[in-house]
């Protein structure tokens, strides 16, 4: 395992921000830390980055205590966007690269590659403060991994990005993964987590509700989400055995079942031996599981 958190607690005078947190991340894996605002994600990141000391527990990187690790193997993108507003884009990236122990020629190579990839060529010599919010975010993101860190923490990397830039970022994260970077990230956008993460940890008020594989989490809930397109009235479907909840979304009707065994009898009724346009039985989305776990609308 690359990163391992064991019984990590962060307690302030009158409240506990993180309580007995345990998880581990394998080398080259993308791990999602998800939770509502105030769940303890940023505190956890700060403890991993040795910016805050845990009250108790241990954090290890490749078997070594995290505070004994060379800091240049780490990369971090904070939740709130921040770069030096008066510095030019290129100058800024040189600064962060050199600060991480890279030679200027090495930094140049990386800058050229990422600036081109993120379509910032024209902004290279512009002051950061003159860039749009999205471009500033891209510059900050490049600054966080310009030195090719072994371990990268991204706190809400997708917030504020338009769909095109979100895809650019997603691809960059996947490229870094391919290059062997271990990535830990948080996001409120569950579709991104679902798309990128191998494993995840679900936090609620500093307590881990689940830690492990995304697929295992989904299996815990089973294939209980049934989406159908039918003329059978909603009232009739709601009365059928095994239906927990039901709602109409445009042309589709979405049912939550007690378990997947109830799907077949519903199919028989709905299709009645004829062609049916849509009948899809799936795992719950991470968004739905998240809401259920942290006490959202499914409760």
């Amino acid at each position: 395992m690359s990163l391992k958190l064991e019984h990590v607690v962060k307690r302030y005078k009158d409240f506990t921000a993180v309580n007995d947190l345990n998880f581990s991340i394998g080398k080259g894996e993308i791990f999602g830390l998800i939770g509502q605002n105030g769940a303890g994600k940023t505190t956890t990141f700060r403890m991993i980055l040795d910016l805050q000391e845990p009250t108790s527990g241990a954090i290890h990187w490749e078997g070594k205590p995290i505070n004994k690790v060379n800091r240049d193997i780490l990369g971090y993108l904070p939740e709130e966007r921040g770069i030096f507003p008066q510095m030019k884009v290129e100058e800024q990236l040189y600064f962060f690269g050199e600060l991480r122990g890279m030679k200027r020629s090495e930094v140049k190579k990386e800058i050229d590659f990422w600036i081109n990839r993120f379509d910032l060529e024209e902004k290279r010599n512009n002051k950061a403060e003159t860039l749009s919010k999205g471009n500033q975010q891209k510059v900050q993101l490049i600054a966080s991994f310009i030195h090719k860190p072994k371990f990268l923490i991204l706190d809400e990397p997708f917030s504020g990005l338009d769909p095109v830039n979100r895809d650019l970022l997603k691809n960059a994260i996947l490229l870094l993964k391919e290059q062997g970077t271990t990535i830990l990230f948080s996001s409120h956008q569950m579709d991104n987590v679902e798309e990128l993460c191998d494993h995840l940890c679900l936090l609620k008020r500093g307590v881990s509700l689940y830690s492990g594989s995304l697929l295992d989490l989904k299996r815990q809930y089973g294939k209980t989400k049934l989406t159908i397109r039918t003329n059978v009235p909603l009232g009739q479907l709601a009365k059928m055995a095994g239906v927990k909840t039901i709602k109409q979304e445009r042309e589709d009707i979405i049912l939550t079942l007690i378990d997947e065994t109830y799907a077949k009898p519903i199919f028989d009724v709905v299709s009645n031996g004829h062609y049916i346009e849509k009948f899809s039985l799936d795992y719950l989305s991470l968004d739905e599981i998240f809401k259920d776990k942290v006490g959202g609308e499914l409760e």
Partner: protein, 417 residues
Amino acid sequence: MSKLWILTKQVYKQKIRSKSFIFLSFMYVAIIAVVIYWNDIANLIFKDDPIDVALVNETDVDIKTIFTSNEELNFSFPKEPIENLHKQLEENELDAVVTISELNSQLKADIATYTPLQLNAQSTINSYVEYASKIYGIQSVNLSTSDAEKILNSQPVITMTNINEHVAGKSEGEKTSGLFASYFIGIVIYFFVTTFLSMITTDVASEKGSRALEMLLVSVKPGTHFQSKINGILLVAITQFAIIIAAIVALLGLKDISSNSDASSLGMVETLIGELSITYIIYVIAFIALTVILFLIIGALFGSLVSKVEEASQVLTPAMMILLVGFYVMISGVANPDTLLIKVFSYIPLTSGMVMPMRIGATDISPIEPILSIVILIATVVLGYIFSLSFYKRSVLTYSSGGIIQKIKTVFKVTTK
């Protein structure tokens, strides 16, 4: 290259290139140029025609040799009746009519004007009259010319001997030079500290507020960041100081080259510095450096307390107030550098840098006093650095609202186990 040096270089480069630094340096050079070339500028812009003064002499004193015309005053000695002269006053042909007469064996001068004279012209005429009065007094007691010259040119010879061998007294020249130099140093410290205290506080606050600090602190320890800010801003202060000194030397040199006068401005400054002892110069450099460093430490600490740059002025106010008090105490020392107030403030670390050089330069103090003051200042800098470093590590990533006390409370609350 070490991380400390990379960060220091970044702070230095960023500040040196900033518009505010360039503007401020330009302002300093402009002010110095105006001060050095003031006479030339004043002559060029404000030069007035000399004032026309008519003198009516009703005594036997030869006033023509006393009232000699110069750039400001043009004396004439008309024989016309006084009424005519008064008419000329009304018609603006004359600015003043001075009638010299005798009253009870003393010289009497009546100065008549239509438009009141400016203070400067009034004082000059008065001094001429006073001199004429002395001549009149000498003549009235029938003294010989050589006796009269002796009286008028007599200068006392004053020598001072201090019988306490442990205290070396200063000459008046040394004390005057010390007073002027200390006044200049006090002003330099005040402006420097004001500028750079605010610069370091806003810089830390801006990095903290923009969250760029979090990215930096992943790579470097808070202590390194703290040190780099002090180093960087201190280098900026040294650069600005060098610019000021270079500007003074260059402008004085230029003035000497362009001037027809034999008196060298640069030579005058050299004489002034020559009057100061090497010990004084070493003390002054130490006091300036330590005071600036102490305020930079405070500035960085204050910057780490606020959550955004807009709050920087709020935390800066107390330090600015202390600085202002020290400055006014130093100013009061120009009139009398031996007061109790000056003595007390010359030991207080935040103000001693401005006040103690004045005592060293312009008074006869025991050698132990500046040593004691500098030891207190060094101890404060060291303790302040250690405390600030420890506090900075805790405050720099703590975000809170409210006043300074509330911010400090929050830091302790969230960082105490």
